[in-house]
Symmetry: C2
Subunit: 318 residues, 2 copies
């Protein structure tokens, strides 16, 4: 049984707590927020035994084996280092950190201490994602010739929210861009070997929309990423003998395989209410087996994504 | 009544002859092919009074006011100059020519002689294209934030056919790339201000697939263009308040308008058997009115496309 503490008492932490409640081998032992009342409310709602009004206290709770970090991106780097220093395994929300140097440092630290660290790229563990990967790697569409994806919608332009605030690690790249960057290579089994981007910034200075071009070992991919456009959110994988449509590619439960004539060949559908439970199961499995990294949501996945953030958004001062 | 001669007796010329037969104000007076038998067969099939076994003869036929050039891209430049020199108006198949310099020279020549010259970008004249343009320019999806399109399929890799032969002006850019380059600016009312491309070449040396990124006055667009992939062929226009899907964007008769929630708001459908008749009607109108260019398929459209071919494929020796 792996006992998790939760850092951050927002919406994503609530989703985590709900998913953990229906996942075997995991318990939520404690929750910490910067505001004690928020932590207590969250604990009561999710029947969590301990609530803390600051992040440090949860780390001295000996009942806690691992920490799920669910606060905003700007806090992740310090929280990861604190957790690892306290001997806790870590599952950290995406985008894990902002720069390649920080990502590399965190994974080195975890490996050095024999602790588990994974970015919470839950979409890699969804059944439909595995199905798409099986189709592609099984040659069902022949050689992959290209990929196109969109992700985004019209977000509230409040400069104080996590989307538009630079101080909270806002911007479309960290919030949404992480998905095409970390999923497209996984769908296709191809590594990102080069990339370029056109970034359009909002008044607050965060990246509001991005046209991202990836080179996947010679195969081109393109993603439209946006806080200010009503995008369908599909990913299309094109091949010499057919193509695959993944509706709502980062969360949906469907995938459609087409033959070369665009005739539907296979339709995968497996509705899933708790998509996060698959990533939690992976974290529990890895921690139980004493692995310090996952073979599915790998350090390379996160480090490559951070390299792209660095390069496309301009190096951040650490 | 505008009397057309046809140069080239292939499939596209047959489509032109059929479309002309159902268009008012136009007659087909003659056809010329490099092979007299082919010309005669074509003339018999389409009830055309005169057939010629070489291109020069059709130009001395005084019954011919205008010439439709329907042979392969490699022949266009010389044919256009011959036709203009003979005082004939010209409607030339796409891609019109391979380089910006040739395109500029042809339009200058036509203007100097008071003759009409237009690239046969028939898709700009389709009712569904006009409907899409009305939606976008009428603000139905708000500010345009991005465009994605695909065009292509698995073509016969025979090095002797017009697709794969460098000598015949083959390659995916001239054959298919011309559509996103010339249609996306028209759909959106935005000019191409910058572009970049990743080109993958076939064994014969022609461009087999292209990942093309356009900058439309700051708005990004991306097109996947291919001779070796089963692509859906749709164009998506994304905006702040909704999006538009144009199935088979370069020939289809449908267009779908979605609201910000991806809910279908309007569905335009107008099945059309002779899509080319609209461009023919435009040519007839312009010639009758003594315009030397069209306001819809403009010289700028063709010159911009040729600039992109030049730059992306490498300058051609003239």
């Amino acid at each position: 049984m792996v006992k998790f503490g939760i850092i951050g008492a927002g919406g994503i932490s609530a989703a985590f707590a709900k998913a953990a409640a229906v996942t075997e081998g995991v318990q939520i032992a404690a929750v910490a927020a910067q505001d004690m009342k928020r932590a207590q409310r969250f604990a009561a709602e999710h029947r969590i035994p301990h609530a803390f009004g600051n992040y440090a206290q949860i780390l001295s709770d000996r009942a806690v084996d691992a920490v799920y970090i669910g606060n905003t991106t700007n806090f992740h780097y310090n929280c990861i280092k604190m957790c690892l220093a306290a001997g806790k395994h870590v599952l950290c929300e995406k985008a894990m950190v902002e720069t390649e140097a920080k990502a590399q440092e965190c994974f080195d630290l975890a490996r050095g201490k024999g602790l588990f660290l994974m970015e919470a790229m839950w979409s890699r563990f969804l059944p439909k994602t595995q199905k798409v990967r099986d189709w592609v790697l099984g040659g069902r569409i022949g050689n992959v010739t290209g990929v196109q994806a969109t992700i985004g919608g019209c977000f509230d332009k409040d400069p104080g929210n996590r989307f538009y605030s630079p101080a909270l690690g806002g911007g479309a790249m960290y919030d949404l861009g992480v998905y095409p960057i970390e999923l497209i290579p996984y769908f296709t089994g191809l590594d990102i070997t080069a990339y370029s981007a056109k970034v359009i910034r909002a008044a607050t200075g965060v990246d509001e929309s991005i046209s991202l071009t990836l080179d996947l070992e010679g195969t081109p991919a393109h993603a439209m990423i946006s806080f200010n456009a009503a995008l369908p959110g599909d990913c299309w994988i094109y091949g010499e003998n057919g193509c695959i449509k993944i509706p709502h590619f980062h969360w949906g439960s469907e995938a459609v395989l087409y033959g070369p004539d665009m005739k539907e060949t296979e339709h995968f559908s497996q509705p899933e209410e708790n998509g996060m439970r698959f990533e939690i199961a992976e974290a529990v499995h890895c921690i139980t087996e004493q692995y310090s990294t996952s073979d599915i949501a790998t350090p390379e996945m996160t480090i490559t994504a951070c390299r792209i953030y660095d390069s496309v958004l301009g190096k951040k001062k650490d």
